[in-house]
């Protein structure tokens, strides 16, 4: 997945790092700090004097918005703008001590849909910036279809969605030159922007869009930003990076983290291990655990074929029976395949089926273009060798279907290995329809 959300703190840090390049006409204090608890904040205040000298705003920094409506922005103790360091620290400790409910959509101020419940682990703390509503502006950019689109509005803050009709959209083809972009932005400044700010707004927007393009953001939003003459405050930011550009942005992005969304299950160690192996390999190794105690496990080669198998299992058995989704492709080595297979066999043999049935392992795949089937199957066979006892204890029926380079040998080897180890196996080649083994497995 190429587009990955980053924390508000990281988004601000990236802009701050390149501030003079994109916004030479403006100043940004970059007074922001990210902490996981109150004592970290107190400690941070030793170096960052402003934490003690100014009143503060604190909020979670965990990829979700609507923090104000969820009551998760601390900006007042007795009255707005009076939050001290001590208050912020104790508030963070309080909010991070137990699970919080967060709603992602609202109708007015009334939450709609279901809340997600999870621990708050990351908070961003910044100075409280007194400003008027007129100084709040909205700006964002992303890719829509083939074009980059810049969104600008004079109505910043929480009201931008209610006032979406006032947002100006300007689309640019990827090949647009800097001159073309600047000219078009200058012509498109929302008319509600205060007359005194119009020129500064345009200059800021041009720099913003240039930063969006050059720093390989997939999405970049500042809502609101506050223009006070030459001084800019970035009150709230949302950003996604195109992580495929990571290899050329190492210096520009710095040490950026891609956190799991709030309310999402933490990735299991097995999934993390596969992700790690994937990142180090020229081949592709993917694993998502959907329902670890379900009956049907898949080990399918190919990004397309794996989806077809998942579709078919959902159609024929229903998703309650589908334990995982994943794929390996691009010619993984024998040891990579062994590791991948062992990870799945390990997960699959942790418990017996709750209804006492045999579990099903689908080793599927289309007719490979260049992946050596015998070589990848060697890895799977080695995993069988190590897990045969556990597999027999749990009760597993294996169904194999594959074609491609060296498939005859691969199928023969895996059949022999399973027979030798006393495992139940059925083996099919390209003469059998790609997903027919799912039907066979379910009718047994």
């Amino acid at each position: 997945m190429a587009q990955k959300a980053i924390r508000e703190f990281d988004a601000k840090s990236i802009l701050a790092k390149h501030w003079d390049k994109y916004f030479p006409d403006f100043s940004y204090a970059y007074e922001t700090v990210m902490v996981q608890n109150g004592s970290e904040l107190t400690k941070a205040a030793k170096e960052k004097k402003w934490l003690k000298e100014k009143t503060l705003v604190a909020k979670p920094d965990m990829l979700f918005g609507k923090r104000g409506k969820n009551g998760l922005v601390l900006f007042k103790d007795a009255k707005p703008g009076d939050v001290s360091l001590a208050k912020a620290a104790s508030w963070i400790d309080e909010k991070s001590s137990q699970k919080q409910s967060v709603y992602f959509s609202f109708d007015g101020d009334t939450p709609t849909g279901e809340a997600k419940v999870d621990m708050l682990t990351h908070f961003i703390v910044e100075p409280f910036t007194p400003h008027s509503q007129e100084e709040e502006y909205y700006i964002s950019a992303t890719c829509v279809g083939d074009d980059d689109v810049l969104y600008m509005s004079a109505e910043g803050g929480m009201e931008v969605e209610e006032n979406w009709d006032k947002v100006i959209e300007v689309a640019f083809p990827i090949t647009a030159t800097e001159e073309e972009i600047a000219a078009k932005i200058k012509k498109s400044i929302p008319k509600d922007v205060a007359a005194k700010d119009k020129e500064a707004f345009a200059t800021f927007a041009i720099g913003f869009f240039k930063a969006y393009r050059e720093l390989n953001f997939a999405y970049l939003e500042i809502n609101p930003f506050v223009l006070q003459g030459k001084k800019v405050e970035l009150l709230d930011m949302v950003a996604k990076l195109d992580d495929t550009a990571g290899f050329m942005m190492r210096e520009q992005w710095g040490d950026v983290e891609y956190p799991t969304s709030f309310g999402m299950e933490e990735k299991s160690p097995e999934v993390l291990a596969i992700e790690d192996a994937d990142s180090k390999s020229g081949a592709s190794l993917k694993l998502t655990i959907l329902k670890p105690d379900a009956r049907i496990w898949t080990m399918v080669a190919g990004g397309g074929a794996s989806v077809v198998y998942a579709d078919t299992i959902a159609d024929l058995a229903g998703i309650e029976d589908l334990a995982n989704y994943g794929e390996y492709s691009g010619g993984p080595t024998t040891s990579e395949t062994k590791f991948y297979a062992e990870t799945i066999l390990d997960l699959m043999t942790r418990s017996k089926d709750t209804k006492g049935r045999d579990k099903v392992l689908i080793i599927g795949g289309a007719i490979a273009n260049f992946t050596d089937v015998a070589k990848t199957f060697t890895g799977i066979i080695q995993a069988f060798d190590n897990y045969a006892d556990k597999m027999k204890e749990v009760g597993i029926k294996i169904y194999v279907r594959r074609g491609g380079p060296n498939y005859e040998k691969g199928l023969k080897d895996i059949k022999e290995a399973a027979d030798r180890l006393g495992l139940y196996i059925e083996v099919y080649g390209p003469e059998t329809h790609v997903t027919d083994i799912v039907r066979m497995a379910l009718t047994k």
Binding site: A2, A245, F247, G304, A366, G403
Partner: protein, 604 residues
Amino acid sequence: MAQLYTRDTQAIFWNNNASAIQRMLDYDYTIKRDKPSVAAIVAPTSSSKFEKFFYGPDEVMIPLYKSTAEAKAAQPQADVLLNFASFRTAYDVTMEALELGGFTSIMVTAEGIPERLARKMNATAKAKNVIVIGPATVGGIAPGAFKIANIGGTIENIVQSKLHRAGSCGLVTRSGGLFNELSNIIAINADGIAEGVAIGGDRFVGSVFIDNLLRMEANPEVKYMLLLGEVGGTEEYKVIEAVKNGQIKKPIIAWCIGTIAKYYDSGVQFGHAGASANGDMETAEAKNKAMKEAGIHVPASFNNLPEIISAVHHELHAEGIIKDIKEPATNVCPSVRKSKEFICTISDDRGDEATYAGFPISSLATPDTGKGIGDVISLLWFKKQYPKWATDFIETVIKTVADHGPAVSGAHNAKVTARAGKSVVESLVTGLLTIGPRFGGAIDGAAQYFKYADDNKLTPAEFLNHMKKEGIPIPGIGHRIKSLKNPDLRVEGLKKYAAKSFPATPLLDYALTVEQLTTSKKENLILNVDGTIGILMVDMWRALGYSEEEINEFISSGTLNSFFIVGRSIGFIGHVLDEKRLAMPMYRHPMSDILYDVQVAEKI
């Protein structure tokens, strides 16, 4: 362009991916193409000139180049670029090719090219009317004509899936693995495919479904199309639009995979990077439903695809739109092949009569053929038929350098060895072994340094300065006794011949200005015979149209010295035969001619 590829299509393959290229050549051999489908390989870090591949039971050499520009200049007819560079460089390689021009399609295999770069690359190509297949793809195929790299898998699978000859389905998929699978399904349930493209799994790919389907609509070989889409994106709607507005009239069978995605939230990434639904419209269900409503043949599930393919094919066949296909004759690639240890590109003794670069020896040997030793050298050394002025020059050189008396080191060696009772060949090689930088090597050196000075536009004074800094006397300048007033007549002869017969002598002209300067310092610093030969050889090659690079290679490989070796062998053999004839005894050098200065070795 209704057809993506023909039987004449040739590609430049960027990256020496030997197994993929071998698969292309196996395919070419199987379908009996006239020329290999890979004309050149770009391998920036390789020092080899070519790579050997099997072509059926035989082997062929595919030339290797350091850059796309070089490859394209040498193989201008190759209008397909197969870009197998990594995700780090694939963008640069594509952009360079678009800049060079002359490519009609570019296939990009890398997965995970930065999105902005992929978009820019695709937009630039589109503006230049170049079809981009990929990124993140195994490519495409025009069965019976041209196959990209690994698509279709092994040659056995290709024949089994009827990808060795054109059928009547146009196939477009996102996934490469399923492309293969569908080819097989179409071969089993219909008559195979006429053209197929896997557009690639990344979010931003160059040619999308509609681009390929519109081309197939215009391709008379394609009678119906099969589209395999995926959850995510809205590309299928463009196809629906084209069907609705009549741009596409041929029947389409279509299915979007990823119906499972609706059960999970967006946190689960199914399949490719492009496969993620933003909004209901992008789900597989919605797309399948919309396609069905537009009159596209949509099965109930992926498992029902075979039936629908069979039904559509059947109907078109019954209507006479699809005719029966006559299976073409094919070659069969041998399963066991052995790479050859040696390569010969100059002569061949396998036929009735041995040939020199394609010319039977009898067509060159006798006087009535009008050919001389210069012609034989031009064929065997350069694999070209040089014009008469050049072969005459070569012969002049050989005659000029044939001998220079008994005192020079090589002749002396040969004579001493002959007197030791050794054979002609042993005596000859002892003489030849002295040829090098000090003896005969001035020809090489003169060509090298004068060419360097001329290439870098050095004035004679700058050239002298340069050589002084290098600490080497200028090769080809200076004679023991001859001077401008008392010229070397061999040199005069060569210069006269060149002036009369060469189209131009720029390097000699330059050398003569250098000579003016050197002789003004010392009168015997003339351009000598070695220098003249070396310099005129460069002028000859320039006039024959060789590139500066090729000439530099002649110099560095020792070609110039070779003329001296051949010529002087005649003289050496003369001296050896002379010794034999005279039955001269073993030679021992007089002690009186040796300065003995032997000290007692110190202890250390």
